[in-house]
Subunit: 292 residues, 4 copies
């Protein structure tokens, strides 16, 4: 049994912390939303009144926060995790943020004797509920080994991909590829439909050849039917494309396709599709040609 | 047994005509390259001295030509298929060309009482040799039914996708998607490597999630190893992106990602990678960042 | 006085042929539209009943046609200019077409002893009426010298830019730059307005610095006011972007920005703005963000 | 005479502060680089030992800093301008930073009774030396009126463009347009040269028509000659494209061309051209086609 301080009990953090309780760990959870904390308590966890309370006595601190400003505040800020956690504590930040922030957190933590992993996830709310997340982990090998039993509780694919920040880079690569494939499927659908071709039949052929991909498998029917209930929201993908471009800037590389895809996803948000599934990128592409 | 005139015995047409001979059909083949004709004869086919000779007495004429100018010449030109073939002949054009040319061929053929299908393939040289091509067919349902037994000899996935030109549109959609996914995989690799992340480990994670696709499955190891033996050459993909953009223009739609991908593939050709596999798009992307 | 056969008396050709008549030349004009021919006759020209009639006895033949299929038909086709014109005739093709067609025309003409220049224009209908066109000429220096007096009648800037096809390449470069600057002005306006900044004040500053350009000078007020009466229509710019990309393909170069701009202009046409001024690219950009 | 605290005496701040001294103002300058401070003293200014010293007794504080982290540190941080300046002080931030930081500074300043303008400049080092900068100012009208006499000392075009942050937005719009026009000129040059057309003659024609722009006027000869001494460095333009995209994100708009241009400029930096003039974007475009 590990004593875990869990900070951030939102859509993702709530089921994840619940799985850790169910696996027999002592989980002390904190969230600004009292209902989320109450839910954890109902599941067998303990309420923490704040960061200090969550961190006190924890072997492992897990953070699952919306973006880098929250991580900077909760981890690096006054009264934050690095100030309050005991030396030797292992901090597993599962938020999706810029790699450079993960590196900065690791450097700041090192000076306090605190160990850190960046461990963003993919798989969305469904993956969190089903404990089937993919988890991409950056940091020291030994720390990965230490965290692995806990990560295995919430994830199905758990991989150590490199040094501090590497988990975030892999997540960024994942998101640019997913966003790009959605755009390509959207362009294919628009071309097929505008040409008077049965899109379903056409995409069936594509799904059987070199163009085959999971998005085509999972989403082509809902896309053709224009059903865009989330799933993973455009707003979140917009945030993630910002991270991908920040990662590219940090790595000093140019990613022209990613640069364009980021703007198309931004268009989705600007057009008011932010709460729809990211497959609603189709609406952006068809609007561009006046077809919706 | 069907009497088939087969025009165009190149890398694709040669094994395809061989399979038709092996399946018991009478194949009279013509190609400007005498060696190709000799190869067909050795396999049990008959040599045709020209288009007239190939077409004479044929129930079905199959054309497998490089691009639309050759189709216009061989099919529509003086001494071409439409001039020489008997009314009732079924012309199956398996070349990858612009949809508008396929439509023009069909219209011209109708006035002569000749039936036409556009039936481009994907799967490349390997698919042709293994008779495992995907074949996307546009034209009349009855003509598709008539051609199907022959198409099944050379293909594994044979789908009727719509009216004249529809086969070409689906092929165009396939090629834009394949080109785009290569670009995305390339950008992911460049980002991972430049960030100091193990690209193999990173792509393994991606291949297990929503970003999963066949190109990642088949090519990620050779791409990371920078092995670019074809496979399907950049030069051919460059031609096909031109078709995709022509199809978009014809359908009056805008495809921004496809427009950019077409230029990146053009860059591959301009940089001298035309004879390499299309996965060499990675070289374009890494050169852009001065990494190769 | 020169005897001129003028083929193509449309929006551009009509005022141009009129200027040549006014300058004292014998102009025999042909157009499929009888009204256009009547207009030339009223201005002092002669009606030609067809290509043969226009070409007979002409020292110089000028063609001003919509696109390359018309040039191929009128110049290269059966009963076309090259078949009917006397050796030594100078053909000045002022149509905007693909460079490769201009080169093909020049090669075909050479075998007949006919001299050719490609001489596309910019400046639009207003430039044609005011005889202030820019004319970019490709071909032999001596032929340029021979044509110059006539070109000076209709143009203000008349430049010999290189061998056959070079005029078309320069025109293509002009159109890609004009299309691109419109897109940039559009993005600037959308950014300013969406940020709550006075677009007029903002663009005034831009027009005074390194970003200064003629489009900003001439069009910023109408663009901010959303007045899009042509001017030069999106449909024509769409055609010209196709030529620019064909020229790039021919020259074996990749033009990524041009590739994207071409799709944005295609979007303008697809959205139904084809008859508006090309400054209506602003509507495409603002629609992308749901702002119109 | 106004007492001015001037923080940031770099390439831009040094000549600007010198002009203010020459105009009769009492300038107390601070910079981490002692040589820069010594230069101001030699010109008749006063050395400030730190932010506190520069701010003490100043009517106006001018900051000219590299990017938003420095502004956040110097202005918002502990021992920063907002902590130390007297209520009623006017802070003129002439740094080029994200609009959102300018807004955040203004909000924080308001709570201390400090007035703020964002007043980024364009015109580069030459403009700073010649006191001919364009200055785009965001903030209250009254504060603009108060600052104007000082801004007129260093600038030629000084315009109030809107509320807090508006100056930064206009600067962002300027930089995206300048970057984009460079890319278009580069694509035109590559197309002309690869087509065997004299680029000089071709661009001369373009400079006389609708494509005319200041970059073509000032830089076409050096670009054709491949002379890329700065001028304004690619590294700085790379930073500014990041600001432009951040501004777009803040304003909730999609800028597809800007998104692509940003990656092409990033490629310039990644390829090692960061210290060259931004016209070296030509090297990126020609490298893409293997022409350099």
């Amino acid at each position: 049994m590990t004593t875990i301080g869990f900070i951030g009990l939102g859509i993702m953090g709530s089921p994840m912390s619940g799985h850790l309780v169910a696996a027999g760990h002592a989980v002390r959870g904190f969230d600004l939303n009292a209902d989320s904390v109450a839910k954890l308590v109902a599941a067998g966890g303990t309420a923490a009144g704040g960061v200090a309370d969550a961190v006190a006595g924890a072997d492992v601190v897990i953070t699952m926060l919306p973006d880098h400003p929250q991580v900077e505040d909760v981890v690096l800020g006054d009264g934050g995790v690095l100030e309050l956690a005991a030396p030797g504590t292992l901090l597993v930040d599962m938020s999706t943020i810029r790699p450079e922030t993960s590196v900065a957190v690791a450097e700041a933590a090192a000076s306090k004797g605190i160990r850190v992993l960046d461990a963003p996830v993919s798989g969305g709310e469904a993956g969190a509920r089903q404990a089937s997340l993919s988890i991409m982990v950056g940091g020291e090998e030994a720390d990965f080994a230490a965290a692995r039993p806990l990560l295995d509780v919430v994830g199905k694919t758990v991989v150590h991909v490199g040094p501090h920040g590497a988990g975030q880079v892999v997540k960024a690569a994942n998101q640019l590829m997913v966003g790009g494939i959605y755009a390509l499927v959207a362009e294919a659908i628009v071309l097929l439909e505008a040409s008077g071709v049965d899109a379903k039949a056409g995409l069936d052929v594509l799904a059987g050849g070199l163009a085959a991909n999971r998005i085509l498998d999972l989403k082509r029917e809902t896309m053709i039917a224009r059903e865009f209930a989330p799933g993973f929201r455009i707003d979140l993908h917009h945030k993630d494309m910002g991270i991908a471009l920040a990662a590219a800037r940090q790595a000093d590389v140019a990613l022209p396709v990613t640069g364009l895809i980021a703007q198309l996803i931004a268009a989705g948000r600007a057009r008011g599709y932010g709460s729809l599934d990211h497959s609603a990128l189709l609406k952006v592409i068809e609007n561009l040609s006046g077809r919706a």
